[in-house]
Symmetry: C2
Subunit: 299 residues, 2 copies
DNA sequence: CTCTCCGGTTCATTTTTTGCATCGGTTTTG
DNA sequence: CAAAACCGATGCAAAAAATGAACCGGAGAG
């Protein structure tokens, strides 16, 4: 879209931090870019960049403008996909920011199900933690977020919340495997593997042990749930995970036991979008399917 | 804003119904305008006008585009006023679509109060019925709507609802003036003046009498509440009005008596904005003041 | 101090947009 | 039924706008 060219240049300048660098990135001369910026500021009625000795930086007005630019770009994309949709094409792209836990089982199933009905729709799925997911939404780099326990919630409009008790993962021969529900204190007595502090499971466990005398003491702390799952096999330790990240139906090498909700409250899995935004058709439809699937998941 | 020029042309073509007429309106040649439209359609990826023998008309894709264009224009205006605001200027314009009843007393008071604190803010207040108010919001021609019993509510995001019982207006010497609350059947026995069927008061009265055997039989039907108020003086008839349209405190030439809510349910006065829209600072602040004033009005 | 990198400016050049004349088509008018 | 009136589209030259190359003055960096 030609009329957004200046906006693209402004974004490039913001990213590069200087007009000359941005000009190189965009394959034009610095003088041309400089004039575009100046002309835009003039007709906009305010400066949008602070001129520093080593380059430029957005001022508060510029920050507001960038939001407008992102919203505009995203809305144009939505519009175009909607127009393509009404001419019967059923195409589009859905981008999702979601917790790592959903990557192995839940999301592939859902995307495959959707694509079997709408083969023209493409997807991008990115692993994001609770904070990054919300930032993704507000910069319009993702349409949908599906994360545990997001924190700020200012730009995050909750579409559906699903309560998820924590499950304990272990080998079938582990002592704790004999009971269907395990207590937190028993877990702490065994070697345990935990995710890093930014993850939802860890936040809940830390909060639960904070009041009590016992603290978690992970023998290994990791970022990858996959790693933890495999590590549990080797050392006969235990790990923790939300049920939606597990393949509870299938009998695997590991067993999962519910961690008593008396000890640790269930986590909240939240499906959300940018507040107030109108999603493209494909994304809106996919959100509906996700919401349905999550509700079914909760029985 | 230069980058919206093509959008302005598209709007002109939509209004004029033909490229040639629009070209004349916009003071360019038809060929230039025609090429702009064609070029835009090409990069947009779809035609937006149907070519008819006598001109052009928006197709469905064009209708969607027009919504986008209006949203863009309005958001840019909001952004500019917000930027002006943060440089300390406190300027802006608020446009309100509201029921006739609010024009004499309520709205002037509120606007004056607001302007005493923010003299840089200007207002436009337009009388709109329940349907037109919502249309105004969705075309971005008004920021705020304040109407009785709006009907569709698809684009109308309710900010505050205020229940308003109907009051009966009459001369102090009217027989019905002796009781503090009057019944509908008694009103129907006296000559009455009613607003036209599209007004909220009338809708409620029609609905209330629809089930009963008695029907309203207005001796005069009018569009102007002011006219009706004065007519009541001359013929010693009665009329109906929502209390917010009255100056209940002041002793005037007329008295107002509550119409029993057993006979006619109270009307709903709804304060609203375009669904999902971010209002300009000035409008957002004024909405807050209105909401406060309306709540106080309800005690 | 010198060197480098920055945004801003000048001016010739290139690219884009516009106006004019005109074509082919359809509807309205006489 | 034919002429007139509009309509959108297009070729081509003129006008307008954007661009690139060179350069200026100023602010850190070494």
């Amino acid at each position: 879209m030609r009329h957004l060219q200046t906006f693209r240049y402004i974004e490039a300048v913001m990213r590069a931090g200087s007009i000359r660098k941005a000009a190189e990135d965009m394959n034009i001369t610095a003088s041309a870019l400089n004039r575009r910026i100046n002309r835009f500021e003039e007709e906009f009625g305010a400066e949008i960049f602070e001129r520093l000795p080593r380059g430029v930086r957005l001022n508060p007005a510029g920050e507001l403008l960038i939001q407008h630019i992102r919203a505009q770009k995203s809305d144009l994309l939505r519009l175009q996909s909607q127009v393509a949709d009404l001419s019967g094409e059923r195409r589009g792209h859905v981008s999702i920011a979601c917790s790592q836990a959903l990557m192995p089982y839940f999301l592939p199933t859902q995307i495959a199900a959707y694509r079997s009905e709408h083969p023209g729709v493409t997807f991008s799925a990115n692993v994001r933690d609770r904070v990054a997911a919300e930032r993704d939404l507000s910069t319009f780099s993702s349409d949908i977020a599906l994360v545990f326990e997001p924190s700020h919630l200012v730009d995050f409009e909750v579409i559906l919340a699903l309560s998820q008790p924590i499950y304990v993962l272990m080998r079938p021969d582990h002592p704790l495997a004999k009971d269907p529900v395990v207590r937190l204190r028993d877990c702490l007595d065994h070697p345990h593997v935990l995710p890093s502090p930014q993850y939802g499971v860890r936040v809940l466990l830390d909060a639960a042990t904070h009041k009590s005398s016992r603290a978690v003491s992970p023998i290994v702390e990791a970022e990858s749930f996959d790693f933890m799952r495999h590590y549990v096999m080797h050392e006969n330790a235990i790990s923790f995970q939300f049920p939606i990240g597990l393949n509870l139906g299938a009998a695997g090498d590991l067993v999962a036991r519910e961690l008593s909700t008396r000890d640790v409250p269930p986590g909240n899995l939240l499906l959300g979008q940018m507040r107030g935004r109108t999603l493209p058709v494909a994304s809106a439809r996919f959100v509906q399917q996700l919401a349905q699937a999550l509700q079914d998941h909760a029985f």
